[in-house]
Symmetry: C3
Subunit: 261 residues, 3 copies
């Protein structure tokens, strides 16, 4: 499926996207998923995640603000997704920052995500590489993480998406780079987390590799449009949601920012 | 009390509204309550809810993002509200989506809410009707839910507000429809949750039926104003908060969008 | 260090700020810290706070939405900050509203914050004074709280910042008043919480007293700029983040709004 076909399918099917994400991201991630045309649901109670996953089209798990009850829910949700044949996306926020995060992420990776999305430092650290990451920010370039991404994709049998100035997506065999977006994005919290949620929505209607590329192309296009009018991170957020709601499938038909490798 | 009198009273008394709401809605719900002229407080610890309810003018409980500790706090808060003679508003978000949600909502309804506010699918499902609801979205029309709303209001001795394109409010005997608002609202997360919080603020200063109608009339007016300038869900949220802060009681004096049945 | 030097240092060093704050504030507080040029991280799990504090430049603790697990994490984080020699900022939101809050705040104060930031009612109540505070809102003027602030600073050996129409900062010996900002700020939720997070960022690169004054001067300047174009609380938030990202150190060089006492 091409990016425009994937967006058209999303907007027709309006899949329910089960998101377990951090407190910082919940509102903007839900608004991003809604603006693109899908239906987000933030559900994290251990008592209900396994009942919710099967009615959703996809699951996304972001470890930004962890606590033990949430970790249990993430595990149950991931297992339920595998059992129900639903794709799920892992966002290993700052997993290298503390031993607790590191253990949680290793456990979750073992539960079979369809896509892992992170910044360069996060992806490199998943392969055991030394990184210059600081807190939630990457200190490495996407180019430096490409080899780690390919190795990780092969080892886990999943798609890996590395985001930064130019994004990189690979399933271990096929790869793509996606350019676009704007330098203001890192100045706004939870943009990456919102992208993960959106990627889940697209993975509900398309194969994981194509869905990851489509999410990045859509995000870049919305970012480009928003940057034209934004005067800072406040107005950028507003313009970004507006742009996302206005992009039509045909606007992505030429895959302008995508370089298939 | 008429809608303009209720808004004037809210803006004079600035009641404290105790909100137990979901993580997605907390920020925007607080900002909506503030913009209308009341004072929100988000308090959910089991150790303090019973101490906080008596100093507030009203309580609102929204089950959007549940977990066991929060459920206990909701129960204690609801009981404290009844004991203190404070009205409380229940928002049964997607209660039909999982057994856990369903049990929590049935328990809470037994604790005597003054108002239940939900979308059509949520209200119909509270009467045991089959619904087309999907996740947090309604799949049914408000018109289809009117009979269920009246039956629910009679059975529980409370006010029921069903929101959608045209809202419906009933206390089992008297009813009203409120039109206005805009089709962009469902594209923004937590607007319904914010409305519930605002309804709590108005219920602190007016009888439940009139408060529910006033909240819907105020929301519709703010939505109409915001829609005039908004280019998408991002700018709509901004314009909506601005509009809410600018509406004066006299702007609602003619109850333009309200049809008393 | 002068205010312009402090901001320049923040923007060069981009310190990591470990924030334990409430659910309402998390997103806007992170965006405020980012807009000013630092790097926020919202981390609250008991299992990881002690590992995270040492890699951060400063810690901030806001008790807005408490629960027992969070209180334990706050205690561990505060202790870790002291052990690592990192400054930490306490925001005792509405601590007088319930016994639970009061006990938590007294415990945390004993763990040695470098700065306590609150509204007038909060600071007065920390000295045992009667207040007119209601929920999260102050019912007292900053002027009425100056004596309590000085006494609290002396007793605890820390800096105390009282915020309101004209802010007051003291270390018990030196004091300053900071004017500016706008009357619309109290109509937006979590502005004070965001200020606390920003103060933590500045305290990572400057002595506590100067950092507190600088944070207030920066906030006031951004508020003044935002008020020029804002039409209400929605557009104010947007303009405030934009303004914060645009302010350069030299814009604060004359310390226009600061009165050193």
């Amino acid at each position: 499926m091409t990016t425009d076909q994937i967006l058209a399918t999303l907007q027709t099917q309006k899949p329910l996207v089960h998101c377990i994400t951090n407190y910082v991201a919940m509102n903007i991630a839900a608004n991003v998923v809604l603006a693109a045309g899908a239906s987000p649901a933030m559900v994290h109670a251990e008592d209900e995640v396994a009942d919710f996953v099967p009615i959703a089209g996809a699951l996304t798990i972001n470890i930004g603000t962890l606590s033990p009850a949430w970790v249990s829910a993430m595990q149950k949700a991931a297992d339920a997704a595998r059992a129900a044949g639903k794709p799920w996306v892992l966002d290993p926020v700052a997993h290298f920052a503390t031993p607790y995060r590191g253990e949680v992420v290793q456990d979750l990776i073992g539960r079979g995500p369809a896509i892992i999305r992170g910044n360069a430092s996060e992806i490199m650290a998943l392969r055991g590489a030394a990184t210059a990451g600081k807190g939630v920010d990457s200190g490495d370039s996407v180019a430096d993480a490409e080899a780690a991404a390919i190795a990780l994709a092969k080892a886990q049998g999943c798609v890996v998406a590395v985001t930064g100035e130019v994004d990189f997506v690979t399933d271990g065999t096929r790869s793509a780079r996606i350019s676009g977006g704007t330098e203001i994005m890192p100045m706004i919290t939870a943009m990456g987390c919102s992208l993960t949620a959106l990627m889940g929505g697209l993975a509900a209607v398309a194969p994981a590799f194509e869905a990851a590329v489509a999410a990045l192309a859509l995000f870049a296009e919305a970012g480009n449009r928003a940057a034209r009018t934004a005067g800072g991170p406040g107005s950028f957020q507003v313009a970004f949601l507006d742009a996302l709601s206005q992009i039509k499938p045909e606007d992505l038909a030429d895959d302008a920012g995508v370089q298939w490798l």
